[in-house]
């Protein structure tokens, strides 16, 4: 069966510090991968998606970047965090070329920037 892991689950970082959130998927190959952010009391905002190694599409201009160094690994990064980067970050995957398009989410990483 497929599983998705993301870490760390919780982190508190000072403004201006770097960020690295990691996500890995197991049990499937060539998945589409996604990073979403959920601010408090809001819906899910798509930040990045990837259809393959090294292929990253950004949905909104921001202080964050994403990389996909391996097929089932997706990393969310920042060189210098802003207060507005605080939120709940969710990694997700979907099957490539599947019509249904269901997303499978990780458990999330809560980031607090102070």
């Amino acid at each position: 069966s497929q599983t998705i892991h993301q870490w760390p689950a919780t982190l508190v970082q000072p403004v201006g510090s770097p960020l690295s959130l990691e996500c890995t998927v197991e049990g499937t190959s060539n998945p589409n991968l996604y990073w979403y952010r959920q601010a408090a009391g809001r819906g899910l905002q798509l930040l990045f998606y990837s259809v393959g190694i090294g292929q990253i599409s950004s949905e909104v201009p921001q202080n964050l970047s994403a990389s996909r160094p391996q097929d089932r690994q997706f990393i969310l990064s920042s060189k210098k965090l802003l207060l507005s980067d605080s939120g709940f970050y969710l990694c997700a995957w979907s099957l490539r070329d599947r019509v249904a398009g269901e997303l499978f989410f990780g458990e999330g990483s809560r980031l607090t920037v102070l």
Binding site: R42, G43, L44, V60, A100, G101, F105, G108
Partner: protein, 113 residues
């Protein structure tokens, strides 16, 4: 794009009653819709989906209705239980967004015992 509004709408229902959560979508070209449930501090979980060539689909205790005329989607939960308390999101697949899912703002469901 980002969801608007600082406060999610809240639906409070009595345990055992039926719940109806509504969602309006924006693009008549969207061909696929999903409902997700998100419990506090966790990632969203799939509940039920429906394609645009259908107007109703039933699962276990849940029913999704799609009204393409008014671009409206609803989730009905029968005999609501305390474990149903969560935030519920609808998502639509927009063809012009490369078939990615775009999520609504969400609705908080509170079940009173």
């Amino acid at each position: 794009g980002e969801s608007v509004g600082l406060h999610l709408p809240t639906l409070s229902v009595q345990e055992g009653d039926n719940s109806i959560i509504n969602c309006a979508y924006s693009n008549s070209a969207s061909d696929y819709f999903i409902w997700y449930k998100q419990e506090s501090g966790k990632g969203p979980q799939f509940i039920i989906d429906i394609r645009s060539n259908m107007d109703k689909r039933q699962g276990q205790r849940v029913t999704v209705l799609l009204n393409k005329t008014v671009k409206h989607l609803s989730l009905q939960i029968a005999a609501t239980q305390p474990g149903d308390s969560a935030v519920y999101f609808c998502a639509e697949r927009k063809v012009e967004y490369g078939n990615k899912l775009v999520f609504g703002a969400g609705t908080i469901l509170r079940v009173k015992s």
